[in-house]
């Protein structure tokens, strides 16, 4: 029996301001994996997620979720954006934010009802934030804010989750809680992709790794991907040529 492929990316190239950030990415992520997306700063880790989710324009490439393009299966996709992209002074409560996870299923005009509230309550419980439901979101610590975002993604009841740097500015207890929750999701056959930059914890957290530095270095079982050879390719000096080419293209294109 062949494995179900949760995410397939084919020939993806992304250019920001005429400067290439991702070149010809080809990869397949099987279902039920906890995946770390790893690479140095500016390697295009977040961009990979955003391009897959159609949030940034791509020059070329196709993306399939469980064999379908995104527009046909948005309900399968859950997303946790970077925490600092949000105005935390926004006048909403923790409950309001988690309820947003159910909006996609509700469709136009319908308001969340009792069933959605119960689901949101359940998701808050999973991240141990149920007693904060009525708090304004500014009154939370960084770790608590991240938990709320995770609860919102859980309320999406997706099959494949994308988390963009969920451990930035988060206390150690929250990081452990998030990781164990993500492992539970994986054990329920969900696929979870996490943009991560702490090399120390990669082996411990993820069973599947995507190593990036503007192009794909390797993707597969963490034990096979996370080799010295591959790390040197991703973090070492060999890729400076590619960066220089990108810079040169950028300079010649912008007068």
């Amino acid at each position: 029996m062949s494995e179900t492929i949760a995410l397939e990316i084919h020939d993806l190239t992304v250019v920001y301001h005429r400067k290439p950030v991702l070149w010809d990415i080809d990869l397949r992520v099987p279902e039920g994996r906890l995946v770390g997306i790893i690479g140095p700063n500016g390697a295009g880790k977040s961009t990979l997620i955003k391009a897959a989710l159609g949030l940034v324009p791509v020059v070329s490439g196709q993306v399939w979720f469980y064999g379908s393009p995104l527009r046909e299966c948005r309900h399968l996709v859950g997303y946790v954006p970077q925490r600092e992209t949000i105005d935390w002074d926004f006048p909403v409560t923790v409950m309001d934010v988690v309820l947003m996870g159910t909006y996609g299923r509700l469709g136009w005009f319908r308001r969340p009802g009792r069933a959605e509230r119960e689901l949101a309550q359940k998701c808050l419980k999973l991240v141990e934030m149920e007693e904060f439901a009525d708090r304004q979101i500014r009154q939370l610590s960084g770790g608590q804010q991240q938990r709320v975002f995770l609860a919102r993604a859980l309320a999406q009841q997706a099959s494949i989750y994308f988390l963009d740097e969920p451990f930035v500015g988060v206390d150690a207890a929250t990081e452990r809680a998030i990781v164990s929750l993500l492992q539970t999701l994986r054990d329920e056959r969900k696929t979870v992709l996490v943009v991560h930059h702490d090399l120390q914890t990669v082996r411990e957290y993820f069973d599947f790794a995507i190593l990036l530095n503007m192009r794909l270095i390797a993707a597969g079982e963490t034990s096979q991907v996370f080799t010295n050879e591959n790390l040197r390719k991703a973090y070492g000096g060999r890729l400076t040529l590619l960066a220089e080419v990108a810079e040169a293209v950028h300079r010649s294109a912008v007068p």
Binding site: L53, Y79, D87, P91, V92, D96, Y103, R111, P112, Q156
Partner: protein, 434 residues
């Protein structure tokens, strides 16, 4: 109340309420000044419309204003896309260029035989509420219905698109379309507002009510209601004061002072904003200051009791007197602060005051012991467990003694328990470190 006044009152208050509600979303979407651009850009649109139809035709004016407003917003988007310019710079440039163009066209029109003044074009600069007609009221009423309906119907979509547009896009919401609906309504309310408050002041009508409402609540649904209410309130206050209902404080008696309605509405809105900023519960300046003062007072009271206790500790169980003036000097307090605190402590029956001498009473001693205990236990904790130098611990403990909850004090006591630290009074106060 005359028919005209009633008409003006209804129109402006409906307009204020609608602008207030829509302003909330414009601010939360981070586009508070779009209304300003639309309003300023409307002027050349109105002038061009006049030059084309050559008569005072309100629907032509509105169309011209709307087209020019959209052109300005589109131009802003284009500049942002093509050039690496900061958003606020683009906004400033586009806004003033369109406005300058409008003022230039205005003076061209003045020279025409039809005349600008007779066409009433200059009224669009600062608004002319007296010229409001029944048609205006109907238009504003229709718009307020549409806007309220849209907010109720699209509440969920507006919230998710303004709070987290990226997330909204992943869920498949057409954020651009939701924005378009929102800013079309903002544009319409701006155009209708031009006749009342004018090109220059319209943005304030969008921004002020929602900015004021934010002080009162952390819930968006309530904020919308409060902002709508503030908008209507500002309109009523402004209209009333311009209609001469406010008694004139200067000039001859019986004389009615006529003030321009638009600016009076804006000033009333500013008064509401100022009032909210000062007096709103929790977030207002006064409430914050009061909280801070209460905290300071409580801390000072603790310091006073501790000072009285520590100076007479050796004389216990005798409750000795000491000079009030000396205590004050040691604490480094002003006379008035000292007077307030001793008076409060005396009223509570914690201390007695005789001939400028202060002494603890038993209930005061009890309180003082709690403070001293928290202070010294914290000092010990910092010294022994946190490894902080002994000359630093006193100041840190000074701040913490007021904040330590009783259960933590008890915990500290268990952690630091060493028998010979207990004083002879058996009150489980450790010996001083100094």
């Amino acid at each position: 109340m005359s028919y005209v006044t009633l008409l003006v009152l209804l129109t402006t208050s409906l307009l204020g309420a609608t602008a207030g509600m829509l302003g909330c979303f414009a601010i939360l979407r981070g586009r508070a000044l779009v209304g300003d651009v639309l309003a300023h850009a409307a002027l050349p649109g109105i002038c061009l419309a006049f030059l084309i139809v050559r008569s005072r035709d309100l629907s032509a004016f509105l169309t011209g204003a709307l087209i020019a407003g959209i052109a300005a917003v589109a131009l802003m988007a284009l500049i942002r896309k093509l050039l690496p310019t900061k958003d606020d710079a683009v906004l400033g440039i586009v806004l003033s260029v369109f406005f300058g163009l409008g003022v230039m066209l205005l003076s061209v029109i003045q020279k025409l035989p039809e005349g600008g003044n007779r066409a009433g074009l200059t009224h669009f600069l600062f608004g002319q509420a007296a010229a409001i007609s029944r048609n205006d009221l109907l238009l504003v009423f229709a718009l307020s219905l549409v806007a309220t309906g849209a907010i109720i119907l699209l509440y969920k979509e507006l919230v998710v698109a303004s709070f987290d547009p990226t997330f909204a896009r992943v869920q498949g919401w057409p954020v651009g379309l939701v924005d378009l609906a929102l800013f079309s309504l903002v544009a319409l309310v701006t155009m209708l507002g031009l006749a009342v408050v004018g090109v220059v002041l319209m943005a304030a009508l969008l921004i002020m009510p929602s900015a004021a409402a934010r002080f009162w609540t952390d819930r968006l649904d309530r904020m919308l209601l409060v902002a709508g209410g503030f908008g209507a309130c500002a309109a009523v206050m402004g209209t009333a004061s311009s209609a001469g209902w406010v008694p004139v404080l200067w000039g001859s008696p019986g004389e009615k002072l006529r003030l321009p309605t638009g600016p009076m509405i804006i000033l009333s809105g500013a008064a509401l904003f100022l009032g909210s900023m000062l007096f709103a519960p929790r977030k207002g300046v006064v409430s914050r200051a009061a909280r801070l003062l209460t905290l300071r007072f409580r801390a000072a009271l603790d310091h006073l009791l501790r000072e009285l206790y520590e100076q007479t500790e050796s004389a216990l169980p005798q409750l000795a007197f000491q000079s009030s003036e000396q205590v004050r000097t040691r604490l480094g307090w002003t006379k008035i602060w000292m007077w307030m605190l001793t008076r409060y402590a005396w009223q509570r029956g914690w201390i007695r005051i005789e001939n400028g001498q202060l002494g603890l009473l038993p209930s005061g001693l009890h309180r003082a012991l709690q403070v001293v205990r928290a202070h010294r236990l914290w000092e010990l904790f910092l010294l022994e467990k946190a490894g902080i130098a002994s000359d630093h611990v006193h100041r840190d403990a000074d701040a913490m003694e007021h904040l330590l909850p009783p259960e933590y004090v008890a915990q500290l006591e268990v952690q630091l328990a060493v028998p010979e630290r207990l004083t002879q009074s058996g009150t489980s106060v450790p010996y001083s470190l100094h």
